[in-house]
Amino acid sequence: MSILEVKGVNKRFGGLQALGDVNLSVKENTVHAIIGPNGAGKSTLLNCLVGKLMPDTGSVMFDGQSVLGRTPYQINQMGISRVFQTPEIFGDLSVIENMMIPCFAKRDGVFRLHAFSSVGSEKDLTEKAEQMLIDVNMIEKRHMHAASMSRGDKRRLEMAMCLVQEPRLLLLDEPTAGMARADTNNTIDLLKEIKEKRDITMAIIEHDMHVVFSLADRITVLAQGTPLVEDAPENIKGNPKVREAYLGESA
């Protein structure tokens, strides 16, 4: 069963056709990678899914409901979490405080005036946040200032913040961009572990083919705003169309 259905999405920026008639279907509990050369429209597509951009035409259905016209926080409350290309975390806060915020958002919704209880008295949520930190091997860093951590740790924290909300769909925008090889491998291991342990669907945008082929169940190749092929990883590797799009080889 597909959890995310993108149908006939078009997006134009002035004279540039960023997305042209994109159709995409992400099946539940799979890892779906979206790849393509620079300027293929990967990030535009992602922004259309999370409410940052509004497509000109077409529909985006998540779990039978349209996400178009909703704000990013409403879409998040529907069960879509997003990991950014550069980790977006609360740099001024400690790691555990970073984790508490999505816990509150999950429990209390978009707004609740909780001005007179103390954060420390929320035992259940603290436990949940700490358990998540244990799962991603960051528990010993829980009182650290988030901004002072390494990029790999920030990425790990951001993923933990998304996962603690138990989203049904996790969107990852180049999760290993700008990472050292060792950090990339750590991230791959983390994502594999998440995939095995949790009922979660992931849509991942990635440049690094090593990452894509070690994780994806299904791959969509975008080129110049249109999907070129959609297939299993082993069929993508040898596909002449893909090679042409990436390397400019004539088939």
């Binding site: 998040n76 977006e88 609360f90 740099g91 958002a105 707004f111 001005a115 209880s117 913040m161």
Partner: protein, 399 residues
């Protein structure tokens, strides 16, 4: 204590002790001595310390937690003052209804202004709040003269109805503000040797209100709501993508801090029942920004320290004049004395703003965390010394 952890309880206790013993602490120099003019322990000034402390505590809930710099907060203080004086004119001289109305009215104003201004952030938000405050100042100063009495300011008169009170006292004067008959101006004086200590009912009332306001602000800082506000300051994008709507959070913070300002305005009017448009001017809004940053934005105690610091300068430093300086330096040879007085002249009396400005710059450049950071650095220094000493004492015997 009251749902606070140990550290916060200690802080609250220290502030409580300091405010309760302020008439002693602020009056260290005996009457008639040369230093007596540095005494700040008289009712009028002490009331200002705590009232502007409340104002700054409220401002800090908005600025310190969310990072939204409002440049029009004095408008709420002014609105609170007008509301309170109207209550004295129409209802009675009891300060409780006056203060309640001041808080409610300024809260409503804050809701309206916040709703519009919070559509933007950063400098645009500051400009919007400044524009609103200036509009309100202009309204109070001229357009709404029937309500605000224009440039003269709103005052009590013998013709006021005062439905639940009396228009005039038996001897034909305007009644004074009171808390169920306990007059705010009532002061007990205690002559102790060369010292004169003054215990004023109004001051103690304001001090208790400030302690309550301080307690509420601690609770807000430690609450999930406070955490969300800090999250908004840190990364609004992530807040949005974590399923939280930042607008109602910031609006709630704006309204709460507007109500604090209204409370301060109501208290000002309760101590001295008049309200003028100059309370809403942009310089007054700038002053609370200075107080908060000088003390330490985002810290609990900082704004109170900053408010005390600035009000002390405004009232004490501005009273030093050339004659006083000549008095201090009279032991020097004539020429040198005149030279020193000449050099110091721009910094005293009406020039206190200059001194304050220089101090403010020094604090912002060298202590970005304000006076609180200064205190922490000193404490750290002492701790280091101690650590060094203990380290020495343990290593020395090894020789």
């Amino acid at each position: 204590m009251f749902g606070l952890d140990k550290k916060d309880s200690t802080l609250l206790l220290i502030v409580a002790v300091l405010t309760m013993f302020a008439p002693f602490i602020l009056n260290p120099f005996p009457e008639g001595s040369a230093m007596a003019q540095f005494n700040a322990g008289y009712p009028d000034l002490m009331q200002r310390f705590v009232i502007f402390g409340i104002f700054a505590i409220g401002f800090n809930i908005l600025f310190g937690l969310t990072g939204y710099l409002s440049f029009g907060h004095a408008a709420f203080l002014g609105v609170g003052s007008y509301a309170a004086v109207w209550m004295f004119k129409l209802l009675s001289m009891n300060i409780i209804p006056a203060i309640i109305l001041a808080v409610v009215v300024s809260g409503l104003f804050a809701l309206l202004i916040g709703f519009i201004s919070l559509r933007r952030s950063g400098i645009y938000f500051s400009i919007l709040t400044l524009a609103f405050a200036q509009m309100m100042f202009a309204l109070a100063y001229s357009v709404l003269t029937p309500i605000t009495n224009g440039e003269t300011g709103l005052q009590l008169s013998l013709n006021d109805p005062r439905i639940f009170g009396q228009s005039a006292t038996a001897d034909g004067s305007i009644p004074v503000t009171s808390l169920f008959g306990l007059e705010m101006r009532h002061t007990v004086q205690w002559d102790l040797g060369a010292w004169l200590f003054q215990f004023n009912v109004g001051y103690y009332f304001c001090a208790i209100i400030m302690l309550i306001a301080f307690f509420i602000s601690i609770r807000i800082f430690r609450s999930p709501f406070g955490l969300m506000l800090r999250a908004v300051k840190s990364n609004q994008q992530r807040v949005n993508y974590t399923g939280l709507n930042a607008r109602p959070y910031t609006l709630a913070a704006f309204v709460i801090s507007g109500m604090y300002a209204g409370l301060a305005g109501g208290l000002l009017a309760s101590m001295d029942p008049l309200a003028g448009a100059e309370r809403m001017q942009w310089t007054a809004s700038g002053e609370v920004v200075l107080m908060t940053i000088l003390g330490g934005a985002g810290t609990l105690i900082g704004p109170v320290l900053g408010a005390g610091f600035i009000k002390y300068f405004e009232n004490i430093f501005s009273k030093i004049n050339d004659n006083v300086l000549h008095g201090w330096f009279s032991f020097l040879p004539d020429g040198l004395e005149d030279a020193i007085v000449f050099l110091l002249h721009p910094f005293i009396g009406k020039g206190w703003h200059l001194t304050l400005g220089i101090l403010f710059m020094l604090v912002v450049i060298f202590l970005p965390g304000g006076l609180v950071e200064g205190g922490q650095r000193i404490a750290k220094l002492f701790r280091k010394d101690k650590a060094k000493n203990t380290a020495k004492s343990t290593t020395e015997p090894a020789e």
